[in-house]
Symmetry: C2
Subunit: 267 residues, 2 copies
């Protein structure tokens, strides 16, 4: 049975609220996902909430399923006034459901490169909205996972989880430093393809071997020179306008669909 | 000569700060763009700032060019302490330059469909970040413009301008209600192509005639049924994952590059 909580100073309410900050996520080993749809996606992917907080009076069938799954897994379901959800999420008009989940394992060693023909690698990606969008794209193209190198943003931030629309739970994410990644990459088959303004090859003129690792650089500065040098191919998309770059999540998607389309043609 | 302003209560500082709100943009006929790079893009595209605010001590060559252009056009350049820039932009760590520009003409009648083979149409687009990203893509694929239908977000919001990275100044933007748009569209050659989950045609199997109007729906609900019915073609991208949709700016870019790639192959 869910407990009803009416106090802002409730210990669990305070704990969950603190998960907006990375240091508390790390200390607790937990992160927060807002919204019924994302929490339901998590459950479908096999992740039951450790804590589920929902607005009083919510009788949605999916909410009931989430409450049951949370309690079955030994977690806690709390029914609260919307004011408390507003406080937890820092929003005037909060989602009616907040789920708290155990941090996912982001060890590089966990990835099986044989599991997919497309992978996405991001170096020093800063914007959690871009990361969430890239996770959605990774899900759509059937990518094996997204690998975050160096000081990239936190995939467990509220913004990244939200922008991923639940793809964080369905697409494996790994975090690594560049050196460890290159060592892992070269221990097996891989075509590492960077997008670069300096490239001369058109992205459609290149033939992509599986597994293809699409390598995206930082939003401002792109890939470092030595990372570009480590690529098997550098390609560029046509840019007919005044500007010299696309949004990184857009550029990643255009590349990923090109790789997927080549694979579809090969059948 | 730029004036030095040291007071938070300076009238111009207050006016510029108010431009964060749409009602003040409408009342003043002005909007704000943050950052040296975006302001320089604006100038290159023929738009001199009406007001330029820059951090004291900024001796960047581009800033000097912006100051000169602002004053040549009869505008005002103000040198201020960073605290005032922080106040204007609402950011702890503000950009060093803020430009204020006259609102651009967004009349549909201003567009010349013969000017380009790709156009982007967005219906009830809500997120200014998505709009800015779509403007960048439109610039990159050489689109003739972006047409915003119904209650879409404001292209002159700080967030949209920022996400556009200056493309707002290089890509024509029009705003219209659906009925007026369809009347304009059908008064000349056009292939209107919607992306839809209900479509059976693969986006790569379709041949796109110029000018192609790529039609994107709202982030949550996609295109309304009657708008889909008004399309010349409905297409879908392969989605191999658990989710059934991509970010709207991503989906728009994948479509736009497919149309561009077909045009490139035709030569």
């Amino acid at each position: 049975m869910p407990r009803q909580i009416t106090s802002f100073s409730n210990v669990t309410v305070k704990r969950v609220r603190a998960l907006a900050q990375k240091k508390h996520r790390a200390a607790e080993g937990l992160f927060m996902a807002e919204g019924l749809r994302i929490c339901a996606e998590a459950l479908d992917a096999g992740h039951a909430p450790r804590i589920l907080i929902f607005a009083e009076g919510d009788r949605h069938e999916l909410t009931a399923r989430l409450i049951a799954a949370t309690e079955d897994a030994g977690g806690e379901a709390l029914e609260v006034h919307r004011d408390i959800l507003a406080k937890i999420t820092g929003k005037d008009n909060p989602q009616g459901v907040v789920g708290v989940f155990a941090l996912l394992d982001t060890a590089l060693a966990r990835l099986d490169r044989g599991a997919a023909d497309i992978w996405i690698v991001c170096q020093a990606l800063k914007d959690p909205g871009n990361l969430g969008t890239i996770l959605r794209t990774a899900d759509a193209v059937g990518a094996g996972g997204v690998i975050l190198l160096d000081h990239s943003c936190d995939p467990f931030s509220v913004e990244a989880v939200r922008a991923s629309m639940g793809a964080l739970f369905t697409v494996p994410v790994a975090q690594a430093q560049g050196a460890a990644f290159f060592e892992w990459l070269r221990a097996g088959p891989a075509m590492l393809v960077g997008t670069s303004l300096k490239a001369s090859a058109d992205y459609q003129a290149m033939s992509y071997d599986a597994p293809t690792f699409i390598f995206m650089g930082n939003e401002q500065s792109g890939l470092p020179d030595d990372y570009e040098a480590a690529c098997d191919a550098l390609v560029k998309m046509p840019m007919l306008g005044k500007a010299d770059s696309l949004n990184v999540a857009v550029s990643c998607a255009v590349m990923a669909y090109e790789v997927l389309n080549q694979q579809r043609r090969r059948g």
